[in-house]
């Protein structure tokens, strides 16, 4: 996961990266493990600038899936900060670049929510529901979006 140059670039550009090691940083691992409920390795948390957890990745993932999950967390941080345009752009980038990952249908869902949150115009929700008719039909995100059709 970590040696992938795309992952290195994305993390370096978007985060302050910190690591606590289960053995080498055992006191820190216990302290922050308790604080954030991390009970397994690898567990990767994406925290906003206030230290609030916005996304969690537990267990190994292949590079594309891992990068898509990192991007999803970064988009969720923008969403939490009510940066709707940025959040939508980041969510859509996941769908475009990594359409076959588990992150993609979740990103498609939230890419429809972000513009609605900005405008309260429900056309983006309807468009998203329609998009789920063409792809990711068997996912829980398609079920969640179906109410918008």
């Amino acid at each position: 996961m970590w040696p992938d140059p795309r992952v290195v670039k994305f993390v370096t550009e978007n985060f302050l990266p910190a690591r606590v090691h289960v053995r080498d940083d055992s006191a820190l691992f216990q302290r922050y493990g308790e604080k954030y409920g991390a009970q397994w390795t690898p567990t990767i948390l994406e925290l906003d600038a206030e230290g609030v957890e916005r996304h969690r990745i537990e267990g190994f993932l292949p590079n594309d899936d891992f990068l898509a999950q990192l991007m999803l967390g970064r988009a969720q941080i923008a969403f939490a900060e009510q940066k709707w345009d940025e959040a939508e752009r980041r969510f859509r980038e996941i769908v475009e670049k990594f359409p076959d990952t588990d992150a993609a249908p979740e990103a498609l869902y939230w890419a429809g929510v972000a513009p609605y949150k900005a405008t309260h115009d429900n056309s983006s929700l309807k468009q998203t529901a329609n998009a789920f008719r063409d792809r990711y039909q068997d996912t829980s995100w398609a079920k969640k979006a179906s109410i918008w059709a």
Partner: protein, 32 residues
């Protein structure tokens, strides 16, 4: 090219607040 993970988590969280930048916190058991 590799990620420069820091281990001074308290300082990283404080800097994140100052710089208004997100933090990636890796709980790891990988060989260091």
């Amino acid at each position: 090219m590799e990620i420069n993970f820091r281990h001074d988590v308290d300082a990283v969280l404080a800097e994140a607040k100052q710089q208004h930048k997100p933090v990636l916190l890796d709980f790891s058991a990988a060989p260091m």
